[in-house]
């Protein structure tokens, strides 16, 4: 196994608020890593640090063997890091297809018919094909979440970061989304998934880390982590000895 992502002592603070506190962990090629933690624990900030929209106060981010700490978000995107947002942020004035095409042409560097065909394949996979020519601004929540996923996939990522993509969906919607994500993982894409909908997360990930106050407090096999007293106390708000 090769390491695709390595965070080394990564720290970031906004004044007195610490969003990343000496985070260290590695993600292996082809792995699916789940991230849980209370609201405000610094999970999304961690994604911002990995994608390059935030720069750390100290520590390094290594991606595919290269130190990318000083790289711009655009350069990291070219290198193969893609993400979806918790609150979907499509280009609202463009069609679903154009949203996908931006990622395929700019991030993945594809051209012409190849790019178009690839986008259609991904749209089919994410079940957005019937909406391809609709303005992204007119989509429903589930469709917007699927568009987030579509755009990230059209970038042909080596590492896919999913930020609470199952949040706010109905059970049936959630099930079909989980299936899509499993398929993506099966195709060889490394995934880091932040999620509060734990059963959806556990259906996909191989390993789990827990973050609180910007610190990694636990890491390991999903079942064991979920059952650990520390997680029950911090994450689920249950007293450790109750």
């Amino acid at each position: 196994m090769t390491t695709i992502l390595k965070l080394d002592n990564l720290s970031k603070a906004f004044g007195a608020v610490t969003v990343a506190d000496a985070q260290c962990y590695e993600v292996q090629q082809g792995e699916a890593l789940g991230v849980i933690g209370p609201n405000g624990a610094g999970k999304t900030s961690m994604f911002n640090l990995i994608t390059g929209t935030l720069s750390p106060n100290s520590g390094t981010v290594e991606f595919a063997g290269q130190n990318v700490t000083g790289w711009s978000a655009a350069r990291r995107s070219h290198a193969g890091i893609a993400r979806s947002f918790q609150v979907p942020q499509p280009f609202v004035g463009m069609t679903v297809f154009e949203n996908a095409l931006i990622a395929a042409t700019q991030s993945a560097g594809m051209r012409g018919r190849d790019a178009e065909r690839f986008c259609l394949t991904v749209l089919d996979q994410t079940e957005l094909l019937p909406k391809a020519n609709v303005l992204a601004g007119s989509l429903t929540l589930l469709e917007r979440k699927r568009l987030e996923l579509t755009r990230a996939l059209c970038a042909k990522p080596k590492l896919l970061l999913l930020d609470e993509i199952a949040g706010g969906l109905t059970e049936a919607e959630c099930q079909s989304l989980v299936q899509t994500i499993r398929d993506i993982h099966a195709s060889g894409v490394t995934i880091i998934w932040i999620e509060h909908v734990v059963h959806a997360l556990l259906a996909v990930v191989d390993r789990l880390i827990v973050i609180d106050f910007g610190k990694k407090i636990a890491e390991g096999e999903p079942k064991a982590i979920m059952d650990s007293p520390a997680v029950k106390e911090i994450y689920l708000g249950i007293e450790a000895d109750a």
Binding site: T51, T53, A74, F91, V92, M94, Q106
Partner: protein
């Protein structure tokens, strides 16, 4: 027939104003930059055209082949070297910097070319005319209008049918997300300014053939450009053409009543439309 003539002449003049305005509209649309130096850049293009035609003996329209890429290069360098540094949440820095740039350009042109009015010599093109249904139309104004329509169509096509256009729209829509999609915002902004100044170069040379110019008249062209953009509605390029036409017609009709009223009546038409339709006549459907 005189009035019909004034109306048609005004429409054709509107083509020139649309060429002034298209660059402004594009820059504002892509990067929310209000370029106060735009008028002076038009005049810079006119002087470049003058220099190229006198130095090489080329016809001014042939000189476009040199002046358009030159202005585009200047635009890219200006954006990457200076204007990108001013862009952010605050609208004031780009306004101040482009205002400063306007002063520098005016005085630089004054230093190099003096304050004497100049004109680009286009030979027979200046006086040639064609008869259409009892009207005598100058070939130059007709050509200007046709070029304006072609340029606006070209920009519109670029925006909606090319990879570059999608990049422009994506950056305009959400800069942060566009960066995550692998778009280098600074480069895209540079390309937008290059395209805008390329269009400006066409407007500048056609202006220089049509009338005499000196380094101080940039401000007036900026106002005409702004008015055309606002009348047509921000972010709508065909609206910008319509805005230019309305401004041109108002000016020639005003001049027909009293020659001293030309500029004033253009401004009055602008104020009237601003009072009735503050968002312009054809605002882009808000995103």
């Amino acid at each position: 027939m005189d009035w019909v003539n004034a109306l048609v002449q005004g429409m054709l003049l509107g083509g020139l104003y649309a060429l002034f305005a298209a660059g402004l509209s594009l820059i504002f649309g892509v990067m929310r930059l209000v370029n106060i130096a735009h008028g002076d850049l038009i005049i810079l293009a006119a002087y470049l055209g003058l220099t190229v035609t006198t130095a090489t003996g080329l016809h001014p329209l042939a000189a476009l082949v040199i002046v358009v890429p030159t202005m585009a290069l200047i635009g890219y360098a200006l954006q990457r070297g200076l204007l990108n540094q001013t862009l952010g949440d605050d609208l004031l820095p780009p306004l101040l910097v482009t205002f400063g740039l306007s002063v520098i350009l005016q005085n630089g042109l004054l230093e190099i070319y003096t304050a004497d009015p100049q004109k680009i010599n286009a030979g027979a093109l200046e006086t040639a005319s064609i008869a259409v249904g009892g009207l005598q139309l100058g070939v130059l104004p007709v050509l200007t209008f046709a070029v304006a329509v072609a340029v606006i169509w070209g920009l519109q096509w670029t925006f909606y049918h090319t990879s570059l256009g999608r990049a422009f729209r994506a950056v305009s829509d959400n800069q942060d997300i566009a960066q995550l999609m692998g778009l280098n915002r600074r480069h895209i902004f540079g390309l937008a300014m290059a395209l805008a100044l390329g269009v400006t170069a066409i407007g500048g040379i056609l202006l220089g053939i049509r009338t005499s110019f000196d380094p101080s008249i940039g401000g007036g062209r900026l106002i005409f450009g702004f008015e055309a953009v606002i009348i047509g509605g921000l972010g709508n390029l065909w609206g910008t053409l319509a805005g230019g036409v309305i401004l041109g017609v108002a000016q020639t009709i005003g001049a027909k009543i009293d020659p001293g009223w030309q500029v004033l009546s253009g401004h009055l038409a602008f104020l009237l439309i601003l009072a009735i339709r503050p968002n312009g006549l054809f605002p882009r459907i808000s995103a």
